[in-house]
């Protein structure tokens, strides 16, 4: 249950998988993503509501063939240049995209966690997204006749999230902005949680989420595993990292040097 990060990634993430590394600003599982880069996983479909610098890095490293998302950017800084290079120029490998709205992605994860094949939401009527994304359909309410959007449930092959604590049995506790982490884990076929630390006993608090050990495939202890994003109660966001990423990611060579460093074990 409690394994090393390297073991967990090797075991759980397979070439060609759909993989959701979730985290809404808070608790982005950077260490796990970097381990995926290091282990040269390929042809992944990367799923995330808010792909940011981490997915830019993974795309630049050639891990991904597709990205499913609802908001992609370096928050407060700008574009994701590696993502653009892959999507627009096919470098280092071509990248396909599938775009939704947040409400839709959240509903898709919830449907996936709920064992339903699709999600229903009021949305998209009149907008352009359904013209570019054939997975967005419309259905009629069988009672009122209203037209509603329907999208397929998300059930990633693997979900990876970072959390503050686990106990020795592998039960996990998340607090602060809890985001979509619970749904990502419960919607996935396999799941890994990296945690800041192991504790003797979890102490659930207001607005916390407990993921029982039996809902998870593996837990790995990775202190500071969410950096440069933040872990509520542990460390703040490293905003300078996000700013520096802009220059690195604009240039294939600068990115190459960053990548070498990560692969060497950064």
């Amino acid at each position: 249950m409690i394994v090393s990060l390297a073991e967990a990634i090797e075991e759980l993430v397979r070439d060609g998988d759909s993989v959701a590394l979730e985290g809404f600003t808070h608790l982005t599982p950077y260490a796990a993503g970097h381990e995926i880069i290091r282990r040269r996983k390929r042809r992944l479909t990367l799923v995330r509501m808010t792909p940011d610098v981490l997915y830019d890095q993974m795309i630049g490293a050639g891990c991904a063939r597709k990205m499913i998302f609802s908001w992609a950017g370096n928050p407060g800084v700008g574009s994701l240049h590696r993502f653009r290079d892959a999507f627009e120029n096919g470098w280092p490998v071509p990248l396909e995209i599938e775009e939704h709205s947040h409400a839709d992605m959240a509903a898709r994860y919830a449907a996936g966690a709920s064992g339903l094949p699709f999600a229903v939401l009021r949305g998209y009527l009149g907008g352009d997204l359904p013209r570019y994304n054939p997975t967005i359909k419309f259905i009629e309410c069988p009672f009122t006749g209203e037209r509603l959007a329907a999208t397929p449930a998300l059930n990633p092959d693997v979900a990876i999230v970072h959390a503050q604590q686990a106990d020795r049995k592998g039960n996990v506790l998340i607090w602060g902005i809890v985001g979509i982490q619970k749904e990502a884990v419960l919607s996935a076929k396999r799941s890994l949680v990296t945690v800041e630390e192991l504790v003797e006993e979890l102490e659930p608090r207001a607005n916390s989420v407990v993921l029982p050990a039996w809902t998870l495939s593996a837990v790995a202890v990775v202190p500071r595993g969410a950096l440069p994003s933040y872990a509520h109660g542990y460390y703040p966001r490293d905003n300078a990292y996000y700013e520096r990423w802009d220059a690195i990611s604009r240039d294939r060579d600068a990115f190459g040097r960053w990548l070498e460093e990560v692969v060497r074990g950064g």
Binding site: G76, F83, S101, L125, G127, P236
Partner: protein, 259 residues
């Protein structure tokens, strides 16, 4: 003290004035966030700020950089999951004002945050929809705050991400959207509001730092100007001081980090 001020400051302050004490406001990142928090720290201490990260009744001690920051979580009344914030709270019709930024807007206040140029071959790839389409659909009214220029106020959107008043008239209502749509657009030049019947944006306020001609020149269609278009009250010293203190509170993170 009658300090000078930047057009961007006027814009944020003009927007914050439109928020009332007790409003329930779904806050987008960037200028909406600054304006909503300015309102909370000045004339609207009981405003309820809701963030798509799941925070309800947030009272950030400093200006958050992102909508999922710890300062948003720390003093929130409650935090719910992201599926819940979009279902029970937004789609459930509990939000009074959806407060959005935008990259492009058209005369009917439709918004593009997806792409400039073509979808497959973007000239500029923007972040995408995020929460905006559903915020604009479900909030009882929508405020938009953005820079006004020929690049942003366009005749035709490159991509219709978020429906405002669609083709004008009652075309929005006919989609089944429950909220009333954009009621105001605040820019660095002035304030625009939709004509009650046609829903075309009309300039109803011009800021003291700009002229109606400036606004016309920064609009990619023939801009309608209200007969009673008035000049915005300049920022008060209190407003300016509060806004500057808020901006200065933004996390500086001097910490070095390896990349």
């Amino acid at each position: 003290m009658n300090a000078s001020y930047a057009p961007g400051e006027m814009m944020t302050i003009a927007a914050s004035r439109l928020l009332k004490n007790g409003d329930v406001c779904f806050v987008g990142i960037g200028r909406p966030n600054a304006a909503a928090n300015l309102a909370r720290l000045t004339h609207a201490p009981e405003i309820v700020l809701v963030y798509e990260s799941g925070a309800i009744g947030a009272k950030p001690a400093t200006l958050p950089i992102s909508i999922g920051d710890d300062v948003i979580a720390e003093r929130a009344q409650t935090i719910v999951s992201i599926p819940e914030i979009f279902t029970y709270w937004l789609q459930g019709g509990r939000i009074g004002i959806g407060f959005l930024g935008a990259a492009q807007i058209d005369r009917f206040a439709n918004i593009n945050t997806t792409v400039i140029g073509s979808y497959a071959r973007p000239q500029s790839r923007l972040p995408g929809a995020g929460g905006a389409p559903e915020i604009a659909t479900h909030a009882r009214e929508v405020f938009v705050i953005m820079d006004q220029s020929l690049r942003s106020f366009v005749k035709k959107l490159d991509f219709l991400t978020t429906v405002g008043h669609l083709d004008g008239g009652d075309s929005r209502a006919r989609t089944g959207a429950r909220g009333a749509g954009p009621s105001v657009v605040i820019t660095q030049l002035g304030v625009l509001r939709p004509d009650p019947a046609s829903k075309e944006l009309v300039l109803t306020q011009i800021h003291p730092t700009a002229s109606v001609e400036d606004a016309r020149a920064a609009t990619g269609w023939e801009l309608r100007v209200a007969d009673d278009c008035r000049t915005t009250e300049p920022p008060t010293p209190d407003e300016l001081a509060a806004l500057r203190a808020l901006n200065a509170s933004r996390a500086a993170t001097p910490r070095s980090s390896r990349l």
